[in-house]
Symmetry: C2
Subunit: 240 residues, 2 copies
DNA sequence: TTCTAGTTGTGTACGATTTACACAACCGGA
DNA sequence: TCCGGTTGTGTAAATCGTACACAACTAGAA
């Protein structure tokens, strides 16, 4: 179901089932929030954006950006609003992650939070936003430690079978940079030649015909063939 | 975040951000429910359990079992309660699927529903519960059509890389039955010899040393090596 | 001008995995 | 005793994954 209608429709014999009137009146009901886990790259390493909780029990700790879901707002819209309130970039990748609803997760009131995974490409500075290496997060408020774990798991999982990395890189990257994203998130080295072969064979990225000049041999620049999430049948990451 | 605390802590300058007092008072706030999609096998085919919605706008339609989340109850517990209210089997597989929160999904009130995927082995009859082939569901109330799609996608996806099938079969099955589960859910045929080789090599199932007698050559009976969700590195389903 | 350090770009041989495929064993019932 | 229908098993070919080395190119230093 999805509301009290069905609760009423089906048998009400279960002791813990709430009578509809109880919901309508007031109080100890359950609130809905969203939390967004924004990942981005800073000097090659994966970082997560956090904001300070300046209030009550959890004061001084960090937490992911979030907020209540408004009465007329979908979950996706609420998540994007919370993301863009802190980080300007519009159009970043955003997908639902998991709903966290343990009764004690927020000590002050009963809140069910739908967590979202966000990927932001530029990682520009924003006031009040602190970026931490994803492998070394500070103590987090609420159950946001578990949220962070879930987000990292999801990101790692999708990295192997989708083109999700497009959310972290702006067009015009070298294959070395691209590969470093994979190595950073997966935590292991990949073979340069096999990696190149694979991503080109899958048509994941496309050469732009331009090169970047540096102190060494110029590197070809690439862009993503698709900037929407697509699944590939063969894993992008075994050794190369 | 996870509640109003953080909303207060961070800048309140966003126009649509709710003042905390508004939440505490009353009304048009958002309710939380769970919906459970119970899958099971009936004569070899995948079926889903539905109950009738006997009320209001959606009267006469079918919907998945569900109900409000109680103030002191976790989401997982709420889902299991809703499942077991209709279907007796305790200990069935149950995992969170997705949170559905479009404002209009329940025409009568604003409800965010956290959907769960359930697998029930026996598929015994229960009063008020109707089983439909998953490929041919009746018109569903609310957005339960989308919920059903998501549940099927998840089941298909996990079938390839986990031992999730243990949720559908009781110990003491033949390999033919086991394979048919895969073929039914995936919608394509698998090679009998390769299938046997793979599930034995992965130690997914174990021979019990017993056989089942029928009108033909007796078939060895198997059980699952693990009855908890485990992931395998190599896909169980390519052709065999 | 030449040399060097450091990076980018490319192909091939080996092994492992996946796939296709056919036949004998076994039972109940006619 | 024969027959239909199912279960159980192995092997060869193709595909895919993996390891690996060397030439090309540039900026900057000598």
């Amino acid at each position: 179901m999805s509301g009290e209608r069905q609760s009423r429709a089906n048998k009400e014999d279960h002791p813990v089932e709430t009578a509809p009137s109880m919901e309508d009146r007031h109080v100890a009901s359950v609130a809905v929030a969203v939390d967004v886990v924004p990942f981005g790259l800073r000097d090659g390493a994966l970082h997560a954006a956090l904001v300070r909780v300046g209030h009550a029990d959890e004061a001084g700790l960090f937490a992911f950006p979030g907020g209540r879901v408004q009465p007329v707002e979908s979950l996706d819209v609420a998540a994007r609003r919370c993301l863009e309130r802190h980080l300007s970039p519009t159009g970043s990748f955003l997908e639902q992650l998991y709903a966290f609803g343990e009764p004690g997760r927020d000590p002050s009131s009963r809140v069910v939070s739908v967590a979202y995974l966000a990927l932001v490409p530029q990682t520009e500075e924003a006031p009040g936003v602190h970026w931490f290496p994803s492998s070394d997060l500070p103590p987090l408020a609420y159950d946001h430690g578990a949220v962070a774990d879930k987000a990292l798991d999801r990101l790692r999982g999708k990295l192997a079978y989708t083109n999700i990395a497009f959310g972290l890189l702006a067009d015009g990257f070298t294959l070395a940079e691209f590969q470093k994203v994979y190595e950073t998130i997966l935590g292991r080295a990949l073979d340069r030649r096999n990696f190149r072969k694979k991503v080109l064979a899958l048509e994941l990225v496309r050469p732009m015909g331009r090169v970047r000049h540096g102190p060494h041999r110029p590197a070809e620049l690439f862009q993503f063939a698709q900037r929407a999430l697509t699944t590939v049948e063969t894993p992008l990451t075994k050794k190369g």
